[in-house]
Symmetry: C2
Subunit: 180 residues, 2 copies
């Protein structure tokens, strides 16, 4: 049947394939990452069938991957007049996508870890252990909590503000010295 090589120009192919590889390295299923890259590239809603043909994977694989992407709030199902099929689309706002991923991973993986560290510290078993181990766990917890809180604050800011902050770079140092 069709496949990616026939339906996408070489640039799109490279983009989609590389994004799939990237996904793998960060614990994201390759097909899931490829589909998202494809939707970002084409920039308009696509039905599942078309994704299937373009990527040359099984329809069921696409179905499950689309569900996964919806669970991650990275794609939305939309409807096109005169077409029964669901079409799927993703935001073309890179910042918004990034924020979504950060948000979701924070909730799924980061916050639960903070919970575990709190449990560890609260456990009576740790007292028997040497005080230094306890201190290290505490430092790990403090760090993760600080990062978590900061992340939440950052997610609230508008992209333009965040961009300004990033452009500031290490000048932040002098700025911080000023207000201290």
């Amino acid at each position: 049947m069709y496949n990616l090589a026939m339906l996408l120009n070489p640039v799109a192919q490279r983009f989609v394939l590389h994004w799939g590889e990237m996904g793998s390295k960060w614990g994201v299923n390759r097909t899931v990452a490829q589909i998202h890259a494809l939707l970002y590239f084409v920039g308009k809603p696509m039905p599942a069938d078309e994704i299937t043909e373009t990527l040359g994977v099984a329809r069921s694989n696409v179905s499950n991957s689309l569900k996964e992407l919806q669970n991650w709030n990275l794609i939305q199902a939309v409807h096109i007049m005169g077409d029964r099929r669901e079409h799927f689309t993703t935001s073309s706002d890179v910042w918004a996508l990034f924020k979504t991923v950060v948000q979701e991973r924070k909730e799924r993986e980061f916050d639960p870890t903070i919970g575990v560290l709190r449990d560890c510290l609260a456990s009576p078993d740790l007292d028997k252990e040497d005080a230094e181990a306890q201190q290290r766990i505490k430092e790990a917890l403090d760090f993760m909590e600080a990062l978590s809180n900061w992340g939440e604050q950052m997610l609230k800011l508008e992209p333009s503000t965040l961009m300004k902050m990033m452009k500031l770079g290490s000048k932040i140092k002098e700025l911080l010295a000023l207000i201290k």
Copy 2:
């Protein structure tokens, strides 16, 4: 033989096992993550044998995982007087560890992706495509470059400065307004 259940108290077990799970979700081999968590917890150099016994995995598995951790600059081999064996240790400074991970992942995964995006934009094939797709790739590239530059700047700062910035949280907004 020995295993984790006998040699570590329940808190340490929980910590090490959870860290292993975390690793998996972020594309890090479970054993690799467990070993690192173990070394962090015990806070002093351990020989490979002891790690093997404590975690209840194969010696070869430990050997390969230790090499991986060394490649990531997360652990160091040290020597103990009167002991032929290599002992392995990790920093107890969470900030330092975090920075190392960020640095390494940036170099291995982030920067190469930036390269691919640059290639995509430079390719003559993209011109034939609609201009909007080109724009989206460009936005993705701009975003990643900004993030990359910012990351580099942040990695240069001392932990204390970074901590201050994080504590600042969304107050950064007002601060930015001031200097604009």
